[in-house]
Amino acid sequence: MPTKNIMLCCVAGMSTSLLVNKMKKAATELEKDVVIFATSVSGFDQELASRQVDCVMLGPQVSYMEKDFKEKLTDKNIPLSVINMQDYGMMNGEKVLLQAYELMGGE
């Protein structure tokens, strides 16, 4: 299994970075080989161009970017999903991590 790269995205990349920490913790517990990082909506293009991304998770507060970002991702075949509000609020790292894995096709 190669390392998976999950990109989280919100307005300033602040609150998602909080979730990143929780997800990393969950990843260690579940023994998943994964790189998780957060970025801002305006940093989306740059991150996408400069590093490997296997899946994008949007904070619910920027769900309005879903359509726009999906268009940019179709060529690259990168799946995108909006994080469930409840999981986001409770900063449920494990659930969001599993949601990401589901997006990337299991494992």
């Binding site: 909080l18 293009d45 507060q61 309005y64």
Partner: protein, 434 residues
């Protein structure tokens, strides 16, 4: 039932319209551009703080003037070129959002375009002189700086937009054939659009100079920037737009969609003008600024939710709420409150939506009138929005402890205001669970 449907309809329509406004490509590019250059303005705040609050603590006279050169130079590299910087950056962001490959090319055209519309002669006051003289061959800080920000934005957007549009027209592309290296033909690709856009701006500028003795910077500033700024940063205009943005966050969509586009640009101009005036020792012109909003209108994040956290901590008997509070308090100190908004939750929770929107209004009114009555200084330093409450009030007002008292007062009022709504929300929750 029909009531509920109406409410749902309202939410749907409201979020849809807001997103449409916020996602409008030029406004979005503007928001992106501001995010990109924000570090410079925060640096300006730091420079102003060191110059006008820190140095005077132990320096006087000539040595103070010498030391203050440090901050003055920082102001030159930040506030005094705000318009000059925003123009290419906004052009760049627009190109990126339009998925146009040569974003740097668009930025260059935006920058050149801005310079082209600058006045050719200026009136300047010689050092120690009393009479203004006409000079030429210079750009002035007032035109490329804070006052020229809006001109930078508009010219930057127009130039980049035209450039991108023209670049996409196949007919006017110079085709050099297959044997020419791609990099060479690439350089010709943007040639005609560049010539066209800059020439057009030059023609408009020349007509304005010669025929009307004015310039585009002046026109944009007086006809667009000032009216917009006056309406949107007036007390009612500001509170209305800000509350609409906050209500949107209550429906799960970030308030920056509204506020980042309709408020931040004009509020930031006010902040920058205040910083500039404070640095120069002039009268500080505005009460309502972006940092005023951040400091008094979003303690602990949008909706001043730190008040809710404290109210919950003191009076809630529901375990889930207390759990979220524990999770939210540390990010809340740094004004990050998505856990509260989505976890408590505030989203779609009508009893809590009311104080979520009204508490910031109350705090802002308290702070506004405290400033009007001269009980505290105006905000003169841009501090990052993640600076914890109380500290941010102290720094933003150039070290005025009375601002901290005003914040504390607003905080207590906010806690008291949140309590009854929190109780109602809990009762609703209990009933639903039964």
């Amino acid at each position: 039932m029909t009531n509920k449907n109406l409410w749902q309809k309202f939410i749907d329509r409201f979020t849809r319209i807001s997103i449409k406004i916020g996602n409008q490509i030029h406004l979005r590019s503007l928001r992106d551009a501001f995010a990109m250059i924000m570090p410079l303005f925060i640096l300006a705040g730091l420079g102003v703080l060191i110059n006008n609050v820190f140095f005077p603590l132990f320096l006087k006279g000539a040595s103070l003037t010498n030391f203050q050169l440090f901050g003055n130079l920082i102001v030159n590299g930040t506030l005094n070129i705000a318009g000059l910087i925003i123009a290419p950056v906004v052009g760049y962001c627009l190109a990126r959002n339009r998925n146009y490959k040569n974003a740097l090319g668009a930025a260059i055209v935006s920058l050149a375009g801005l310079i082209v519309v600058m006045p050719v002669t200026l009136q300047a006051l010689p050092i120690n002189g009393k009479k203004a003289v006409d000079i030429s061959g210079f750009l002035s800080y007032s035109n490329i700086g804070v006052t020229g920000m809006f001109a930078g934005i508009i010219v930057g957007l127009i130039a980049a937009e035209l450039f991108i549009k023209l670049s996409k027209i196949e007919k006017i592309k110079i085709n050099l054939g297959e044997n020419v290296p791609p990099a060479v033909s690439e350089s010709f690709l943007t040639l005609i659009p560049t010539i066209a856009v800059i020439s057009l701006l030059a023609i408009i500028s020349a007509i304005l100079f010669v025929g009307f003795h004015t310039d585009l910077i002046k026109l944009i500033t007086t006809l667009i920037q000032e009216p917009l700024r006056r309406v949107n940063t007036s007390l009612p205009g500001f509170l209305l737009i800000y509350s609409v943005g906050n209500l949107l966050f209550g429906f799960g969509i970030h308030q920056a969609v509204i506020n980042g586009t309709l408020l931040d640009p004009v509020l930031l101009i006010n902040t920058n003008k205040n910083m500039h005036a404070f640095a120069a020792g002039d009268h500080v012109p505005y009460i309502i600024t972006s940092v005023f909003r951040d400091t008094f209108g979003m303690m602990g994040g949008t909706g001043s939710t730190i008040c809710l956290l404290v109210a919950t901590f003191l009076f809630s008997r529901i375990k889930a709420s207390r759990e979220v509070t524990k999770l939210s308090i540390v990010p809340g100190i740094f004004n990050i409150n998505e856990p509260v908004i989505y976890g408590y939750p505030i989203v779609f929770n009508i009893p809590l939506l009311i104080p979520f929107v009204l508490t910031p209004i109350i705090s802002l009114l308290i702070a506004y009138y405290a400033t009007v009555l001269g009980l505290m200084n105006r905000t003169v330093v841009l501090v990052p929005w993640t600076t914890p409450p109380l500290i941010n009030g102290f720094l933003a007002t150039g070290g005025d402890w009375r601002a901290v008292v005003v914040q504390l007062l607003s905080f207590i009022v906010g806690v008291l205001f949140y309590i009854p709504f929190m109780k109602i929300s809990e009762q609703v929750l209990l009933k639903q669970n039964q």
